[in-house]
Symmetry: C2
Subunit: 335 residues, 2 copies
């Protein structure tokens, strides 16, 4: 049997309305009473029912998560972090996938102007080169928090990781392991995170006085087969790299497959490092060196800030960017 | 610039309303005109804007996908199939995650009764042991199509794979490779697919006159650490299995990790086979033998049927179960 607000009210000898207000952090309720209610709610393992309250209140008690794809461990872990935060606060999460299309993203944000959701968490598509569609939603009083793929030109809260620094350190690691001809696989130069990673890579090469070959940064597409062909051509060429950095998880598989097919040994012939949250990274042949991003924590922190803002009933968020660092995990693919 | 209905109307010298009706397969428009409109729409690469039409029409042009989790390749591939079908028909997809909680699933379906979505695709949670919440939605005229984790007691369309047969064949494969002491890891006996897989496994053992050890079917939980401990205990015991079938993808990693830690060699000491759509299966150490499910196709077929039903504006779906077969892909982990 799940615990209801009524039961909480009986236990505390307070009205249902007081309990409800205390749980939504209303200014009408004293800090002391709030404390008592929250303590009892935890004690009895009370879980708010988001649907019930949405029927009563004006708000939908729903937040939207807009992201490019889910067949990526970073995003699926981030969603788990977001859902955990939302669940604790009795909010419901709707997931919208742009599949890397700016037009889809724009249409979704237009739709949100009609009040379908109370707040938005967004990681922009690789095609997104402007922010009008996001600013319009904020102007309508719907708070937006960015995570991972942020837009610098929008003044709101952002959660990201230390992309520049991680990429710099990953590059140094490969140089230390003897690489002299690196290639960097990226997806879109419109994305800030992608650019930061490229810059960290280039700065490390510069600091170590390494010449940057013309082919050193390779733009991959949104088409898996095309990427595979491109990577295979790269690894078959005369200037074959002795080290590859895959700046997104999905570019790892084609590198491993191309090496298998070309009978190149990892790490002897080519060292491979990937920005990845792949659960199977330690089980690959060979185990993959990764820059592991704080996906779950980033999602949870972004959601917590958005929910705090919603519960205080204001939509203005500070424009601070919070950076949660990534971790370089060295495994056999680079040593 | 994207093509609008207005442009289509100009090109064909027809009214906007006729174009709109033709594109939604209205009975008011002749087959010939529909054909002309569709041909021109394809020629000009017209993409309907689901949001615009939802503002005009009564319907939300939205379908819900309710599923247990997304950190699983089967579900993320199925979503891609669903999104492809929806996108072609100008429908929008909302993803709802139950995180294997029946209470969450029930609350979501209650919410759908308010007309938030036009139709529902569902793969039930591991806790779901009844169907009242689903039947109630159908009774309100909102069509529901099951995929993968179906409920037999609801009379509607279902898309599934040949779980019994796949499991039977997977078991035969391990017996042929010399296994004499198998273990089968499952998640929930309430789930039909889980039960079908157990039955296929047991029937194969029976047909080959193999005694089924008491520990042969192991119930795993929804807690990753607990599962890891259980699997490690199994592989450390006196009756250590010489072959393991993981009936869901997420049980593969703990098996590989436990073998690594216990210094058991796959396949020499333990053969491992998994029901999995893991993209990295061929790259694991050793490459993993899988029963690969038709995730994308199943999602797409289920969505197409639901959308067809929505466009014809009737909510009654046949109760046929369509079975799309899985494929056994043999790799080094079992040979």
């Amino acid at each position: 049997m799940s615990i209801t607000i009524k039961r909480l009210a009986q236990e505390l000898n307070l009205s249902v309305s007081t309990i409800s207000k205390a749980l939504t952090d209303s200014h009408e309720i004293s800090a002391e009473t709030k404390q008592r209610v929250i303590q009892k709610a935890q004690e009895l393992n009370y879980k708010p029912n988001p649907y019930a309250s949405s029927l009563r209140g004006r708000k939908s008690k729903t937040i939207a998560v807009v992201l490019p794809e889910i067949a990526d461990s970073f995003f699926s872990l981030a969603i788990n972090g977001i859902e955990e935060a939302a669940s604790e606060k009795g909010y419901h999460v709707l997931i919208y996938l742009t599949h890397e299309s700016f037009l889809k993203e724009e249409a979704m944000l237009k739709d949100f102007q009609n009040g379908r959701v109370d707040g938005i968490l967004i990681s922009v598509s690789r095609e997104t080169a402007g922010s009008t569609h996001i600013q319009e939603v904020i102007d309508r009083g719907i708070p937006v928090v960015f995570f991972d793929r942020i837009r610098e030109d929008v003044s709101t809260a952002k959660f990201t990781t230390n992309d520049y620094e991680s990429s710099y350190n990953a590059t140094l690691h490969l140089l230390e392991k003897g690489c002299r001809n690196l290639s960097f696989l990226c997806i879109s130069r419109d994305l800030l995170i992608s650019n930061s990673r490229i810059q960290g890579y280039q700065q490390a090469l510069k600091d170590k006085n390494m010449p940057e070959a013309e082919t050193a940064v390779i733009n991959c597409t949104n088409n898996a087969e095309e990427n595979y062909r491109m990577i295979k051509a790269l690894l078959s060429g005369k200037q074959r790299p002795d080290g590859i950095i895959a700046s997104v998880e999905k570019l790892t598989n084609p590198v491993y497959l191309a090496c298998q097919e070309l009978q190149l040994r990892i790490p002897q012939d080519v060292k491979v490092l990937s920005f990845s949250n792949l659960e199977t990274a330690p089980l690959l042949n060979p185990a993959l060196t990764t820059v592991t991003q704080p996906a779950f924590d980033m999602g949870k922190a972004a959601a917590n800030l958005l929910l705090k803002c919603l519960q205080k009933k204001h939509s203005i968020l500070g424009k601070d960017t919070q950076v949660i660092p990534s971790t370089l995990i060295v495994r056999q693919s680079t040593v």
